[in-house]
Structures are given as structure tokens and as C-alpha cells.
């Protein structure tokens, strides 16, 4: 039993503090870090504890991401804060062309121990330039690893592993989960990349999901249990490498699958997972895989508009109802 609870923000800061203590080559670089400890307070206390190793930058996302790469190639382990996932668009050459490809393109000569970290996700009326979930782009790019956990235990363990990993890791955290609390043990631990976690066991249907949709799926599962429907919730945590074995196990158990993410439905990660399930696990399926994702428009500002566009617990319940062929 873990008797300590931390928020995601605190779990992240603790992970960074431990890794920076352990390894002097780890440093944090990005915008607005020192004075406020990061926009979510995720670096609180670190600038004082590690002078010179939490580095404020000009507003230059292209160069921040690329500088992280240059430092990673020359003996450092940079943790790059890109402020918002949306701003990866201004650093796509650096992330997708340079960091992702450099090891391969140069015949495996070099390691790229780089973390590109950014908050993503909608629901705060932040509108189209501060609300996106872009993980599919990075999963689509060979050479990157992609992580998107939602609970403090996972956040801490995966940040530590991402920092120690010798490949570029793109690490997303939904901006509505920072204050979310959860148990985190005092003693040190790591969570391997590429390992999903069963957040709830069930027998009727599996929801394969990640990030904030895990919370929505758990809420939906709670509601559906009152109707006698038993949902299994598989939190992927790492999106690449994908824990295919965990998916296989769960699909073979429940035979019905919903894949859910907050990102745009069309060509999202759900499409890849659904396609692979029908290719490899067709005989296990009792029904077609159903996907849940955002409608294919930019994120609108006004609360009723935004709420209509992004999925929530109700979207999972609708998907389950469709899949089981009954009105819930």
C-alpha cells in the first residue's frame, strides 16, 4: 500500500530532481522556466537546487528543440520543455527530420538521449493553437519514441526512464491532468518504455486508450458497471514502442474493443491500432473495433463548441452502446 499521494506536477518535479541529482549531464531548457518553475509549476524548486541547469530561452522553439539535439549529440541529456504540444509545429524539422533520423541516417554512430516534453490536449477553451493532441504525427515518424501517461505514478516512472533512454523521446502530458493526484511511492522506481498498464480489469469489452481518455474511460466504466457492463481499461502509457502483447492479451479476453483518444479521429493512433487488431486478431473479435476521437475541425474556443468537438466519458459510453448493440 502506497501511503503518499502526489499531483502529476509534483511527480514530474520529483522525477526531474532525482535524475538531475543522479546525472550531472541532465539539464532542462525551454521558455519561462526559472521565475515560475514552468507554466504548471512542474520545475518548482529545481532552478534553485541546480543552478545553471534549468535554462530559460528566448521564444525560439525551432532552436530550442534543435539545441537539445546538438547537446544530446555531444555528451548531455537535455530535457526540452516545448511549452505546448502545438509548438512542436515550429520545430518539426528539428524533431522529425533531425532528432528522429540522425542515428539511423548516420549508420548508428551516435545516441540521441533527448526528451522533448510538452503539454497537450483540449478542454480549457485555449482554442486552436493551444489545444491539440498531435501524438500520431510522432508515432508516424520512425526514430522517435512517444510517451503519454496520465497518472502520477506513471508520469514519474516514465519521465525517469525517458531521461535515461538513449533515443529521442517525445513526452506528452495532457494539460488538464497536472493537478490530478495519485499514489507515488517514496522509494525509487522506473517504468520501462513500451509497457501498457491495465488500469481496470473487465470482461465485456476493452477500452484501449491513453492520456486523459484513461480517466474518461474509468469514469465510463464506473457508470456502465451500474448497468452490469464490465469494461477493461488498458492504458498504453507509451505509444511507441507499442505494447502489442498487452493489447493481444486483453482483446483475446474480452473480444470487443473501443480505441479512444482525444486527438482527431481521422488517421489517429486509433486507426493504426484498429487496423492491426483486425489484421492480426480478427478471429478474436466478436464485433468490429470502434474508435473514439475528436471531430475533424480545429479546436474551437467557445465552451459549448469545444465540448461538442472533443470526446469525453459520454463518447465512450456511446461507443460501448454501439458495440454491444444496446441502448444504455
Amino acid at each position: 500500500m502506497i501511503d503518499r499521494e502526489l499531483t502529476n506536477t509534483e511527480a514530474m518535479a520529483e522525477a526531474l530532481r532525482e535524475e538531475m541529482t543522479r546525472d550531472p549531464s541532465v539539464f532542462i531548457v525551454g521558455e519561462d522556466l526559472v521565475a515560475h518553475g514552468g507554466i504548471f509549476g512542474q520545475f518548482k524548486g529545481l532552478p534553485e537546487a541546480f543552478p545553471g541547469r534549468v535554462i530559460d530561452t528566448p521564444i525560439s522553439e525551432t532552436c530550442i528543440a534543435g539545441a537539445g539535439l546538438g547537446a544530446a549529440l555531444t555528451g548531455m541529456r537535455p530535457f526540452v520543455d516545448l511549452h505546448f504540444a502545438d509548438f512542436t509545429t515550429t520545430a518539426m524539422d528539428e524533431i522529425a527530420n533531425q532528432a528522429a533520423k540522425i542515428r539511423y541516417m548516420f549508420g548508428g554512430q551516435v545516441k540521441v538521449p533527448l526528451v522533448i516534453w510538452a503539454p497537450d490536449g483540449a478542454g480549457l477553451s485555449a482554442a486552436a493553437h493551444h489545444s491539440q493532441s498531435l501524438e500520431a504525427w510522432f508515432v508516424h515518424t520512425p526514430g522517435l519514441k512517444v510517451v503519454s501517461p496520465c497518472l502520477p505514478y506513471d508520469v514519474k516512472g516514465l519521465i525517469k526512464t525517458a531521461i535515461r533512454d538513449d533515443d529521442p523521446v517525445v513526452f506528452f502530458m495532457h494539460k488538464r491532468i497536472f493537478g490530478r493526484k495519485g499514489p507515488v511511492p517514496e522509494q525509487e522506481y522506473l517504468i520501462p518504455l513500451g509497457q501498457a498498464d491495465l488500469k481496470r480489469e473487465g470482461s465485456d469489452l476493452t477500452v484501449i486508450t491513453y492520456s486523459i481518455m484513461v480517466l474518461h474511460a474509468l469514469e465510463a466504466a464506473q457508470q456502465l458497471s451500474r448497468d452490469g457492463i464490465s469494461l477493461e481499461v488498458l492504458d498504453l502509457r507509451t505509444l511507441w514502442p507499442l505494447d502489442w502483447e498487452a493489447i493481444q492479451r486483453s482483446v483475446s479476453k474480452t473480444h470487443r474493443v473501443v480505441v479512444a483518444h482525444e486527438a482527431c479521429l481521422t488517421a489517429g493512433l486509433g486507426a493504426e491500432i484498429a487496423a492491426r487488431i483486425q489484421e492480426e486478431l480478427f478471429d478474436e473479435l466478436d464485433a468490429p473495433v470502434v474508435r473514439v476521437g475528436a471531430k475533424r475541425v480545429p479546436h474551437p474556443f467557445s465552451p459549448p463548441l469545444e465540448k461538442f468537438v472533443i470526446p469525453g466519458p459520454h463518447s465512450i459510453i456511446e461507443a460501448v452502446s454501439k458495440l454491444l448493440g444496446k441502448q444504455i
Partner: protein
């Protein structure tokens, strides 16, 4: 002619330029004979820039290079045979056949990579400079680029960042007058790229890029300044690209006369003439160097030709440093 350089240092510069010229002339012939796949971008006529700058660098200094980077990489200490093998797409190449002409790197001699994206090296060079500073070394980083790259956005971010942090970076503009097929006079808001340095509070110097001694002097000053922790310099070397943007370029954007006129300012002949005047390059020595360089490049070609191609399945290797099996587990491939 600067008197501060020793005779052997000047001969060294001459030899480096001759090696680059010989390497690229070989590549030109081999490409024309269909023996090299893909595209090649040659820097024939621009050798003084790589030779002059590299001559002030240490083994542990870094460079980022460009799509026209054979000279930079060779001058920093890479082996011609492994470069040539890479151009041939062979397993013994620097990148095991995965990079080719535009993506040669040799991390063992501080080459952080040529780059297929124009100005792609800027942020990487800044990061390497930041790394030198954080690790407390006096290494320097050279970021080679062309006049075309100077108009890309990352250049602004990189120069500003290098300046505010006083990073040990030499931004070396190999100004060959053309961005692919577009003349600098059309594409660029200034006549000299170096004047842009004033926008970033760093020294901006323009030198004759066909005068290897002038390049070396300017690079030496910039490197000293960087090693002292005083920050970056923008060094612009005015030169000319003899060949097209790529081999096979029909070059409709310039006249033959313009190219012929530029060839008169051959950096190798220029140094040779100066050396002869000082009686430092007797005919025997000149012949000896030319002979050695030719043999070296012929051996490089032989090595490349005799080397095996990679097995097709090797295309799936080298993507991840960590547990590749684990990383690939999620993939269908």
C-alpha cells in the same frame, strides 16, 4: 601572404585543398559514369573555406555541415575511403549506406553531420555550443552554411541564442553566390551576409573565400574569441561554385563566361602561386603532393568499389540505440 604561418602549415593548407579537389573531381567522374546513385553537390572552387577554417580546429572541436559538405568533412579529418564508400551506398561507408552524399557524419572527429535540410545545422551547432559551455570545455563549434541558408528562420533564432549565451560557435558562411539556382543578388536583402551579425551583437567579417590564408586568419581570430568565452562570430567567405547546384544541373541561371571568369580565382592556384613566390613549393614537392593525393583518392575509389553492399534487411537496423527488439516489437516491420 601572412608571415606568421610556418612553411609546413601553408603546405598543409595546400595539401588539404588538393585532397578536397581530388576527392570531388573523382566523385564528379564517377557520378557521370553512373557509378554513384542519388544526387551529389560539389564544392569545387570553394576548397579554401573548409581548409582554412579546419586548420584552426582541434580534433575535439565540432562542425555541422551542409548538403555541399564533402570538403568540410574531409578537412575535419574524415577518411576519404569511408566517405567514398558511403557515396557508393556500401556497407563500409560512414553511415553503412544509409546516408549518402548529403548525410555524412564522423562523430569520431567531431563531424556532427552534413545535412539535407538547408540551415538544418544551425540549431544543432547552438546545442553543441551550449554543451561545450555546460561541460566547461574550451571546444568550439563551426556551423558551415551557404548564402541560401542565411535567409532561413532558424538562422535568426540560432544566432540570437548563441549571442545571448556567448556560445563558442563560428557561423561560417560559404558564400558561393547562389542558393540552388537563385542568385544572392535576388534573394538576399543585404550585399554581405556578414552585416547581419550586427543584429546579433557579434562580430561579422567578410573575407576573400578563395584566399585560404585570409580564411584561416579570420577563423583563428573567431576561434580564439570563442575559446575565451567571448561568444560567436559570423565569418563570411566570398567564393564561387564552379559546378552546378547538383551534378547534371543545366545551369540556366548563369553564363558560361561568368563561371570561366570565376575559375581564374582558383583558391588552389592562388596559394600555389604565393608559395612559389616564396620558394616554398618547388616543382618536386608540388608533384609529390599531387601524386599522393591522387593515389589516396584512387585507393578510396577502389575501397568503395570492392566493398559489399549492405544486405537489404540491414535497412531495419540502427533506428534505435536502446533495446531494438523491444522498440521494434510494436511494429509490423
Amino acid at each position: 601572404m601572412r608571415s606568421s604561418l610556418k612553411a609546413e602549415e601553408m603546405i598543409g593548407l595546400y595539401r588539404t585543398m588538393c585532397r578536397i579537389r581530388a576527392f570531388e573531381t573523382k566523385v564528379q567522374e564517377l557520378f557521370a559514369a553512373n557509378m554513384i546513385p542519388g544526387f551529389v553537390h560539389l564544392s569545387i572552387g570553394e576548397e579554401a573555406v573548409a581548409a582554412g577554417v579546419s586548420s584552426v580546429l582541434r580534433h575535439d572541436d565540432f562542425i555541422t555541415s551542409t548538403h555541399r559538405g564533402h570538403g568540410h568533412v574531409l578537412a575535419k579529418g574524415a577518411e576519404p575511403r569511408r566517405m567514398m564508400a558511403e557515396l557508393f551506398g556500401k556497407r563500409t561507408g560512414y553511415c553503412k549506406g544509409k546516408g549518402g552524399s548529403m548525410h555524412i557524419a564522423d562523430f569520431g572527429v567531431g563531424v556532427l553531420g552534413a545535412n539535407g535540410v538547408v540551415a538544418g545545422g544551425f540549431p544543432i551547432a547552438v546545442g553543441a555550443g551550449l554543451s561545450c559551455k555546460l561541460r566547461g570545455t574550451d571546444q568550439v563549434v563551426v556551423c558551415y552554411f551557404g548564402d541560401g541558408a542565411s535567409n532561413r528562420g532558424p538562422v535568426h533564432e540560432a544566432m540570437n541564442m548563441a549571442s545571448i549565451w556567448k556560445l563558442p560557435v563560428l557561423f561560417v558562411c560559404e558564400n558561393n553566390q547562389y542558393a540552388s539556382t537563385t542568385a544572392m543578388s535576388y534573394s538576399t536583402s543585404v550585399e554581405r551576409i556578414a552585416v547581419r551579425a550586427s543584429g546579433y551583437s557579434m562580430p561579422g567579417v567578410t573575407v576573400d573565400g578563395n584566399d585560404v590564408l585570409a580564411v584561416r586568419d579570420a577563423a583563428a581570430q573567431a576561434a580564439d574569441r570563442a575559446r575565451r568565452g567571448e561568444g560567436p562570430t559570423l565569418l563570411e567567405a566570398m567564393t564561387y561554385r564552379w559546378q552546378g547546384h547538383f551534378e547534371g544541373d543545366p545551369q540556366r541561371y548563369r553564363t558560361k563566361e561568368e563561371v570561366e571568369e570565376a575559375k581564374v580565382r582558383d583558391p588552389i592556384l592562388k596559394l600555389a602561386a604565393a608559395l612559389r613566390k616564396k620558394k616554398l613549393l618547388p616543382k618536386e614537392l608540388e608533384d609529390k603532393i599531387q601524386n599522393e593525393v591522387q593515389l589516396e583518392m584512387e585507393e578510396a575509389v577502389r575501397f568503395a568499389q570492392e566493398s559489399p553492399y549492405p544486405e537489404p534487411e540491414e535497412a531495419l537496423e540502427d533506428l534505435y540505440a536502446g533495446d531494438v527488439a523491444q522498440a521494434a516489437k510494436g511494429g509490423l516491420a
